[in-house]
C-alpha cells in the first residue's frame, strides 16, 4: 500500500500487527511503545523524522482508548495526571534543547546512545531487584486461589522499596498535594520533579518515556502500580498530542500510516488494560523488566553495527 504523505510503500497488515503488539504493551504497562514502533517503521524504509512523528500520532489514539478503559476500572488519577502533564511538557522542551546543543557540539549520537543504555539497563536491573524482592517478601501472604478474590486482591500493592518511598512522601515541602485517588499526600515539587525528569528523557531519548515515568510514579511518588499505569497513559495523551502537533507542523506526521497502526493498537490496548486486572503490582513490574532491555539492545546494536533503524 502506498502512503503518499511519507512517500513509502508498506504492507498494512504489518502495520496493524505492529500496532497490535504495541497496543497490548501500552495497555498493560502504560508505555507508548516508541522503542518498538520507531525501529519497526524504519525497517520498512520510512524516514526517521516520519517514524518519530507518526509514532507519536498513533500513541495519542491508543493512549486515549487505554486511558478511558483504565478510568472505567478506577485506575486513573486525573489530578496527578494534569499536574504531571505540565512538568512533562517543560521537561520535554529541556531535553529537546539539550539535543540541539549536542547537535551543535557534533556528538549527539554517541552521548544519546550511552545515556540511553545506562538509563534502560539501570531501570531494568532496579525493577528486577525490587519486584523480585517484593514477590519473595510477600510470598505465601496472598495464596488464596478463588478466582474472584484473586482479581480483587491483585490491586493491593507492595514494594520492597516502600520505606524509601514513605520517606519521600514525608518530606514536607510546601505546597503539599493530597491525591485521594492514589491514596497519598505529597509535595507538589516532588511530583513536578518526577514529571520534568520523565519529560526530559522523552525529549532527549524520544517517545513518551513511559519506561521512566511509570516506575518513577511507583517508586518515588508511591502511586499503586495499576494507578501508575492508567495515570501515565492519561498523561501520555496530553504530552503526545503536543508532540504530534509540533511534529505535524514540521511535516513529520503521516496520519494515514498512524491510522492503520491505530486499528491494531486500539484492539491490543483494550486487551492489555483488561489483562492488568489479573496481575498484582509486583508481577506487572517484573514483567516490565524486559521492555527497557529491548530498548537497550536496539541502541547497542546500532552502536556496534553502525546501522540506523
Amino acid at each position: 500500500m502506498f502512503f503518499p504523505i511519507s512517500n513509502s510503500h508498506i504492507n498494512p497488515v504489518y502495520l496493524v500487527v505492529v500496532g497490535f503488539v504495541i497496543g497490548i504493551l501500552g495497555g498493560f504497562f502504560g508505555v507508548g511503545g516508541s522503542f518498538i514502533a520507531g525501529p519497526a517503521l524504519r525497517l520498512m524504509g520510512v524516514d526517521w523524522n516520519y517514524a518519530v512523528g507518526t509514532d507519536l500520532a498513533h500513541i495519542v489514539g491508543k493512549s486515549i482508548v487505554a486511558a478511558r478503559k483504565h478510568r472505567t476500572l478506577g485506575n486513573v488519577d486525573l489530578k496527578l495526571g494534569m499536574i504531571m502533564a505540565l512538568g512533562t511538557i517543560a521537561g520535554a522542551e529541556g531535553g529537546a534543547q539539550l539535543i540541539q546543543a549536542l547537535k551543535r557540539a557534533g556528538n549527539v549520537n554517541s552521548v544519546v546512545s550511552w545515556v540511553a543504555i545506562v538509563v534502560y539497563l539501570g531501570i531494568s536491573i532496579f525493577m528486577f531487584w525490587e519486584s523480585y524482592a517484593t514477590l519473595r517478601l510477600h510470598k505465601g501472604r496472598s495464596r488464596r486461589t478463588v478466582s474472584d478474590v484473586k482479581v480483587v486482591e491483585s490491586k493491593a500493592d507492595h514494594s520492597a522499596f516502600g520505606p524509601v518511598t514513605k520517606k519521600i512522601q514525608r518530606m514536607k515541602i510546601w505546597p503539599m498535594i493530597s491525591l485521594p485517588t492514589s491514596g497519598i499526600q505529597i509535595s507538589l515539587w516532588i511530583i513536578l520533579v518526577v514529571a520534568v525528569v520523565g519529560g526530559f528523557f522523552s525529549g532527549f531519548l524520544g517517545g513518551g518515556a513511559g519506561y521512566i515515568r511509570m516506575p518513577s510514579m511507583v517508586y518515588v511518588l508511591g502511586v499503586p502500580t495499576h494507578l501508575a499505569v492508567g495515570t501515565d497513559l492519561f498523561e501520555i495523551v496530553i504530552s503526545a498530542s503536543y508532540g504530534t502537533f509540533t511534529h505535524a507542523i514540521k511535516g513529520n506526521v503521516d496520519i494515514l500510516i498512524a491510522l492503520v497502526m491505530h486499528t491494531g493498537a486500539v484492539i491490543g490496548a483494550q486487551i492489555g488494560v483488561v489483562a492488568t486486572q489479573y496481575f498484582a503490582g509486583p508481577k506487572i513490574r517484573l514483567a516490565f523488566v524486559p521492555l527497557p532491555l529491548i530498548g537497550a539492545a536496539i541502541v547497542i546494536y546500532t552502536l556496534v553495527t553502525g546501522h540506523k533503524f
Binding site: P4, I5, A57, H58, V60, G61, K62, I64, V65, R68, V146, S147, D148, S241, T244, F245, T246, A248, I249, K250, G251, V253, I255, L256, A258, L259, V260, H262, T263, V266, I267, Q270, I271, V274
Partner: protein, 80 residues
Amino acid sequence: MKQDAARSLRAFAAELAIYAVLVTGYFFLVLHVLGNWLYQLETQHRVPYAVVAILLIAGQAVVLDAVTTVLFRLLRRPWR
C-alpha cells in the same frame, strides 16, 4: 463465579469484535474520502493538517469507542 467470568469475557470479546470492524471501516472511509485532501493539506497548510491529524486519531479512539458501546448495548438488549 466462573460462569460470570466467562460471560464477561464473551461480552468483552464481542465488544472488541464490533470495535475492530468499526475501526477498520473508519480507516478505509478516511483513506477513500480524505486521502488526497490530507496529502494536499500536508504539503500546503501544515497547521490545519496538524489539527485535522489529531482530530482524526482522537475521533477514531473516542467516537468509535462510544459508538461501539451504544451498538453493543442495543445488540445485547434482545438477548436478555
